[in-house]
């Protein structure tokens, strides 16, 4: 925006947002008011002293259509169609909904008004920051009826006051950017808890992706109200707060492990014979299991956020969590796994890897094959336990699950390759036996004739 268009600017400490807006409304100004505080920027478009559009920058813009789907107000296929037609523009999407009678025009206006009020209500709480009013009106596509500044301010001030009141009363750590997700342990029917519709809707929106501010927007409920509901849901242990920094770190760590294992798998694909192929698979699976165990020792819910946890405690935790499933698998399905054990929180497969010193030929291949199957099942078990514990049913969890499935497909392909090779060898062996057997029969026949 041009500097020469700027007709007023200053510090929010000198002149608050409320006073600036009132002043611009009274004088019937047309232009754009830009308010900055930290990384956030609010751009309010005014025409003849009325609010015609508003844009918030510096905070992720939520996808209203997805949120409407989550609270059962819109079908996902319809949402997808709207998204494509509106090119991601929320206001256009809302207008299309009205056009198709999926939403009333009054509701659309109410939603757009709420978005303006919510953003101004938040900006009214800014203490530090700067503002500038430009004569130039930024053309923002708006389907909203112009809003009277006084009524917007009244509602926004009410919301800001409620927030302050709630913060003073509850001393909560929750902010408008807090993201929550359902706790994976919850598998009971939430209806039995006697939660109201509002609580259930917040619960539905707690998918590990949406910030509190977005929930307030879709439910058209003040942010302070959402904080109260979230606090209650946290007390019920139905949701937990997501730490985005930790989640990012965790996702990167797991990605690195999977990428490393995929690389090892790819390198061992060029094994010369079936035995080497199986051996390569066993060591890849073992390395993957141990990589995941190291990761879980760092990010397990009961271990993280406690600073430096003693190594002995981590080892004890990992063994307590995974030794029993391994023993069960060894006892019930894959006896070869009895030769493995946990050493310092890591799975030791040395006995399997050095089995060629004790066994040879087909028996060795059978043992290896059993080990591959057992370790694959154990690997799946570890990963699902780890994912459930660390990220639960969240966006990150779902993303990692997709990656994991892709990796398992590659392992499966390797296993299938071996199976085909094995089947081919069996057929070849059987054929060569068949070729020798008729000759034997003939010989016997001749002998019989001789008799």
């Amino acid at each position: 925006m041009d500097q020469q268009d700027r007709i007023m600017d200053g510090d929010l400490q000198t002149l608050g947002l409320q006073s600036i807006l009132k002043m611009l409304a009274l004088s019937g100004k047309t232009g754009t008011l830009l308010v900055h505080s930290g990384p956030e920027t609010l751009s309010i478009s005014l025409r003849k002293g009325q609010v015609v559009a508003l844009r918030e920058e510096g905070v992720p813009q939520p996808d209203l259509l997805s949120m409407l789907c989550l609270i059962n107000r819109l079908d996902p296929p319809r949402a997808q169609a709207l998204r494509e037609m509106s090119h991601g523009n929320t206001q256009v999407a809302l207008a299309l909904m009205v056009e198709r009678n999926w939403m009333s025009a009054a509701e659309m206006q109410q939603r757009l008004e709420f978005a303006v009020t919510q953003s101004i209500g938040h900006a009214l709480r800014w203490v530090d920051g700067r503002f500038a009013f430009h004569r130039q009106l930024v053309t923002m596509e708006s389907k909203m009826q112009p809003l009277d500044v006084d009524s917007v301010l009244l509602e926004a001030l009410r919301q800001a006051d409620e927030w302050e009141e709630m913060a003073g009363e509850m001393g909560t750590q929750l902010t408008r950017t807090t993201v929550a997700r359902w706790l994976p342990e919850v598998n009971k029917d939430v209806r039995t808890l006697g939660l109201s519709q509002e609580y259930i809707e917040v619960l539905c929106l707690s998918n590990g992706e949406l910030p509190l501010q977005a929930m307030a927007l879709v439910l058209m409920s003040p942010e302070s109200r959402i904080v109260r509901i979230m606090t209650r849901l946290l007390e019920f242990r139905l949701i937990e707060v997501v730490d985005p920094i930790l989640e990012r770190e965790l996702q990167q760590d797991l990605s690195n492990i999977i990428i490393k294992c995929q690389h090892i798998l790819a390198q061992r694909q060029q094994s010369s014979n079936a035995e080497q192929h199986l051996l390569g698979l066993i060591s890849t699976l073992a390395e993957c299991i141990n990589g995941l165990l190291i990761h879980h020792g760092r990010y397990a819910k009961s271990l993280r956020g406690r600073g430096q946890v003693p190594t002995s405690e981590i080892i004890h935790y990992l063994e307590r969590r995974f030794a029993q499933p391994l023993q069960l698998m060894a006892r019930n399905q894959y006896p070869i796994l009895e030769t493995t054990n946990f050493v310092n929180g890591q799975l030791d497969c040395t006995d399997i890897l050095t089995l060629n010193k004790l066994v040879k030929g087909e028996k060795l291949a059978e043992f290896y094959w059993e080990a591959v199957q057992g370790l694959t099942v154990f690997l799946r078990e570890i990963f699902s336990t780890l994912l459930r514990d660390e990220v639960g049913n969240s966006h990150t969890g779902r993303q990692l699950d997709l990656v994991w499935r892709a990796f398992l497909t590659e392992i499966e392909q390797e296993i299938q390759k071996y199976q085909i090779e094995r089947a081919y060898q069996h057929t070849r062996l059987a054929r060569s036996r068949d070729r020798t057997q008729p000759q034997q029969a003939l010989r016997v026949g001749i002998v019989q004739n001789w008799k």
Binding site: E84, H87, G88, R248, Q251, Q252, S255, N256, I258, I259, K260, Q262, H263, A266, Q267, Q399, L400, L402, V403, A406, F407, T409, E410
Partner: protein, 143 residues
């Protein structure tokens, strides 16, 4: 504002998914293909801002794909980051000779991948060929 598109060419579904997940988190649009021919068709169809290209690919190897892209006047400015399991000097030199911009050795670190990709996406809009402007509405619809 438009978001940059990165084309990932790798025959491993794991690598494709991981790169997609990692870059999407950074607000980068990612399209993936698993072989050389599909890669060339995706380049022409999507005009990516950057290509992450594996060397060992079915049907047509990464060096050859890189060579073809560099020979094309419309797409030669697209940065190409080679992804390879081989860390040898010879492989890196071969990649450079084929026209790659950078070389990432597998197994790569997620953070390293993000930093490298971001380095080449700073001025991506300026590097786009003229026909990209005409394609924008279509690309946005797909995104």
């Amino acid at each position: 504002m438009d978001i940059p598109t990165v084309l990932v060419v790798d025959d491993s579904p794991t690598v494709r998914k991981i790169v997609q997940m990692t870059l999407q988190r950074e607000y980068i649009r990612v399209i993936t293909v698993s072989d050389g021919l599909s890669a060339l068709s995706a380049v022409a169809d999507e005009i990516p801002a950057l290509i992450l290209l594996d060397i060992q690919l079915p049907r047509m190897d990464g060096y050859y794909i890189c060579h073809i892209i560099r020979k094309n006047l419309q797409f030669r400015q697209i940065p190409i980051i080679m992804l390879s399991g081989k860390d040898g000097l010879f492989d890196k030199m071969r990649g450079r000779l084929a026209g790659s911009t950078e070389y990432l050795t597998k197994p790569f670190d997620s953070e390293e991948l993000i930093q490298t990709v971001k380095k080449y996406l700073v001025d991506w809009q300026e590097r786009m060929p003229p026909q990209y402007e005409a394609m924008r509405p279509r690309l946005r619809r797909r995104g």
